[in-house]
Symmetry: C2
Subunit: 209 residues, 2 copies
């Protein structure tokens, strides 16, 4: 008689994440999981930061999306090795898909791996991808109420980047209120301000540190 085994989805993901973590450690690659809303500026941030890191460090990227390879094409255009992970409708990356992506990258030639998660403030927070650090992106056009509404994501962040600062004057985003709310859940993570005109130096230094 066949024995059927049902396993918690999270337990399966934890095992897959451990496998990713081991593989990256074996090649001395540091992985950063980047999370934030759809359109908050995750890919734009990579487009700005990667050219500044590349002279000193070798970087690779995994791009998570439900469909399309639009983001991977943007990263390939700046000559960084990239694999598109298409979740085919799933709302988050899981470690099994990341493991497949990692195996397609030239790990021996990399120092950093950036994993851009699916645009979503909820589900990705619950899935360990084997990363060393979590970077949360929040754009001022989303409103300052987001940290209080999505505390889990901000609580587990190793760094937070507030993007589209050039649009601040055109919004009612209350920057001190947003930062005070972030500090309710996360006392340590540095908070960076960012737009396409900002010097990405401090963020680059944090990533490289």
């Amino acid at each position: 008689m066949e024995v059927r085994i049902l396993r918690r989805l999270e337990a399966k993901n934890e095992a897959d994440a451990a496998a990713v973590r081991d593989l990256l450690a074996a090649h001395n690659v540091r992985a950063i999981n980047i999370m934030g809303s759809p359109g908050c500026g995750k890919t734009t941030l990579l487009e700005r930061v990667l050219p500044r890191l590349q002279p000193r460090f070798r970087c690779g990227v995994l791009e998570g999306d439900l469909f399309t390879a639009r983001d991977a094409e943007r990263i390939a255009a700046i000559h960084v090795p990239v694999i598109q992970l298409e979740t085919q409708g799933s709302c988050h990356l899981d470690a099994a898909l990341v493991h497949r992506g990692v195996c397609e990258l030239p790990l021996a030639d990399l120092d950093y791996l950036f994993i851009e998660n699916v645009g979503n403030l909820v589900c990705p927070a619950n899935f360990d991808l084997g990363e060393a650090a979590r970077l949360i992106v929040l754009s001022v056009t989303e409103g300052h109420d987001k940290p209080e509404k999505y505390p889990l994501l901000f609580a587990r962040a190793d760094a937070i980047v507030i993007t589209k600062m050039d649009l601040l004057a055109h919004t009612n985003f209350d920057l001190p209120a947003a930062e005070a709310d972030i500090r309710k859940f996360n006392t340590n993570a540095p908070i960076f301000h960012f737009d396409t005109q900002t010097d990405p130096g401090p963020l680059v230094d944090w990533l490289a540190g």
Copy 2:
């Protein structure tokens, strides 16, 4: 010996959605499920549209969020009956929670029920809440690539509202490209343009029609 029954989550939700639909039909209330990214302007849209509908129609609102009652407070401030549905970490509203909310509203005194879903472009698309129509909100600050990346949400829309049009000139959002992409998945739904200065008349007329 105990018999254990495992039921698909979706089947449970379908039964709950049917119960919501029956209850609303019994009171002749039309429900509209509003979906879009975090910070795309769903609550702001309600703040603009409800005062225009209220003279002719009686409206109620269910506000979906993981945590906080911030959005419900904004709706209460414009004197519309509202219940906050706190999902406590879940990434979407389900019909069971909506059913509980509907039972707390004065259905006999309502013509329209607006259900503002959790800010998320993925998961809410898969959960029928017993609504009569689905309104999708996309802000220009999110980027014109969103319809292609999240086709399921746009395919099942009865109307689409492109918000924050006042910021269009400050972004690289390609409006014709976004609308052409929407039309790949949805040939019929009207597309409205909106910002806090726009006359909400055409959208109000569609809702009232």
